[in-house]
């Protein structure tokens, strides 16, 4: 098999894997938009906050230590214990649920029936507030995130492809884990929304929240629930991206990778987030490999992802899997 073809296959496979990582971020956006019509600008910061909280709990870090020390002249930084990864993840889920409750209690409860742009602006404020709180709570230094996920080249794939083609493919173990987790996450979300009482209530609110209210579904409860689930998805994305790059403030910028995925897959479709991610991942990687690096000086992935999304948008404004917009006059 010609080398270029093999390299192209390897690039495409890695593109698929990268696409799964983008999808993990996009899922959080979809969940909240689907249930409440809010484009949650703070989703990236939620991933950052969740990852910082997880590392902080794991390492026994005292929250707001700098603030406490500066106020009381103390010098406390750690409780002196390490929390096992699984327990730390559970505690972080509790924190994200508390965050979801607070967001609804103090922000969105007061904004019911406001224009979508007002809700969007509220999430911008929320993003910057949460970033500041994360900084005060856990500090700005870069932290190593280790919940036991494997990283590095998968030797089995490397050896198998080497024996078959004479060239070993590189696939990162972390990407394989991310793919499995994304699959489980989507399956879990589908089962939840189709087969549970809360899931059906969530879908009812998504379809028509006034009709849902009239049959006794609590809007507040559903919003807290959906923000909690989005918080959990943010935690998963934060773990994956944080393991890759360390937990630091630029983690919030992963939201930029989710936007073209949403444009392509639609803002209301969970499968759309996954398929959109895969198309964006493969598309940007193959473009960089075939055209970007050899002819355009490289670094084309960021903008090409948006070009790809725009092309889809022109032909399907609602995205690949989004609900068709029909307005009768």
């Amino acid at each position: 098999m010609p080398d270029q073809l093999l390299f192209g296959m390897e690039v495409a496979l890695n593109g698929l894997m990268a696409g799964v990582m983008y999808s993990l971020v996009a899922l959080g956006f979809v969940l909240i938009f689907k249930a409440s019509g809010i484009f949650n600008y703070a989703q990236g910061v939620m991933a950052l906050f969740a990852a910082m909280t997880l590392v902080g709990i794991q390492n026994g870090q005292v929250p707001f230590a700098h603030l406490i020390n500066a106020t009381f002249g103390t010098s406390i930084h750690h409780f002196g214990w390490q929390v096992p990864a699984l327990l730390a993840i559970l505690l972080t889920v509790v924190v994200m649920a508390a965050f979801a409750w607070a967001v609804n209690r103090f922000v969105f409860r007061h904004l019911v029936n406001q224009e979508p742009i007002i809700l969007f602006m509220a999430t911008i404020g929320l993003a910057y507030f949460l970033e500041g709180v994360a900084d005060l709570m856990w500090g700005a230094e870069i932290k190593k995130l280790d919940v036991g996920l494997p990283q590095g080249i998968n030797t089995l794939i490397d050896e198998t492809t080497f024996n078959a083609f004479g060239y070993g493919f590189f696939i990162d173990n972390l990407d394989i884990v991310a793919t499995i987790i994304a699959g489980l996450l989507v399956a879990g979300l589908v089962i939840f929304s189709q087969y549970t009482k809360q899931g059906r209530a969530l879908r009812a609110v998504a379809d028509d929240h006034q009709a849902a209210l009239s049959v006794g579904i609590s809007l507040n409860y559903i919003w807290v629930l959906v923000w909690s689930i989005a918080g959990f998805v943010a935690l998963v994305a934060g773990i994956m991206w944080g393991t890759k790059s360390g937990v630091q403030f630029s983690l919030s910028l992963i939201a930029l990778k989710a936007l073209p995925v949403l444009m392509l897959g639609g803002f209301t479709s969970i499968p759309g987030a996954i398929v959109g991610g895969l198309i964006i991942g493969v598309g940007e990687k193959l473009f960089e490999f075939l055209i970007g690096a050899p002819f355009l000086g490289g670094a084309t992935e960021n903008w090409f992802a948006y070009v790809l999304a725009l092309i889809f948008l022109v032909f399907r404004p609602q995205g690949l899997f989004g609900e068709k917009i029909i307005e009768r006059v």
Binding site: H66, K244, S245, G246, K257, K285
Partner: protein, 427 residues
Amino acid sequence: MKLGTMTIAAIMAAAPAMADLVFPSLSYRTGPYAAGGIPFADGYADYFTLLNERDGGIGGIPTRVLECETGYNTEKGVECYESTKGEGSLVYQPLSTGITYQLIPKTAADGIPMHTMGYGRTSAANGEVFNNIFNYPANYWDGASIAVNYLLSENDGDLSGKTIALVYHNSAYGKEPIRTLEELSAKHGFELSQLAVDHPGQEQKSQWLQIRRERPDYVLMWGWGVMNQVAIQEAANIRFPMENFIGNWWAGSENDVLPVGEAATGYKALAMHNVGADFPIFEDIQQYVVDTGNAAGAGDQIGTILYNRGLYAAMLAAEAARTAQEIHGVADITPAMMRDGMEALVIDEAKMQELGMPNFGPEFSVSCENHGGSGQGKVQQWDAAAGEWTIITDWITSDKSVIQPLIEEDSAAYAAENNITPGCSES
């Protein structure tokens, strides 16, 4: 030195009650790059606190660090400059190449000097064109040449037939070394491949798959922020030999290697100053700054690479101020006097010993023709088990025969564009 001490004593005796010497600190303690900005800002502030607490300031005048948060954002950086320049600010260190480019014409118009240590516009080393800008002790082009000179020393002086890949941040900063490396590639016969990484650099799979396919002998990196950690992790993932991976001095702090863990062992980076806290000055910092509760941060950054860089930058600013006081015979210097002090700055080993920082940085002197210093650097290597950087070379000097013509060409173009007649400022 005695003459200098006597001059300072005379200045102090003659000085009436005066204001303070203002050193603005355009810091970034928030935002995506805060992890790098905090230790630098802490080191910068702690040095001036030390001078105040231990020596009563510089030449008897207390110093004041005027901190302004830029978030590493160019617009905010310019706002910081505009809002602080009226406070008698003596020298700006914008800590960002983007802010530097915006401030070059502004500082020239306002007559305030700017020091861009190891960043900014490289051709500002030509003081005849850039009267107010200083980039000693080394600049990006020096860095590129130092890296190549190091690789030459590792290969018995011959890089012909070797391949060097440059992984760079796709920005003005990241592109700075390309021209120099192209010249050095032609001179030494190595092949240069360039791999751009878009901001912020969290996803670099394409670049590292290409490196895996092309198998360059060495990889150089001009990165910043999250790009560095991801690159080092990806290098480990593809099993690229870490000892053949060299970052520049903005890709060589603890922040860059700690998230990668054990796999980062062996990674190298350029150093424009020494590493660690094994210098007498740190005892003074503990006694006069930390123990008195005056440390700028939590005190947990002391001795880290970027803390030391902030400390070093502050030391160079303070010594330039001292030189300015000696030249002009007044303690309460103006920005114009500070500029003169910077242009006459001499840093030798005796001075560094006296300051409790022996061999902390290279020996160099500044002149009107050369605002760039000696252009020297070292190479440091990370040991994850020990959790520390170790210097593995002596000072390496850049190849001036390649760099100087580039500086002259670029600065001449700037002079022509801006109607500047090259020449030295009158002191």
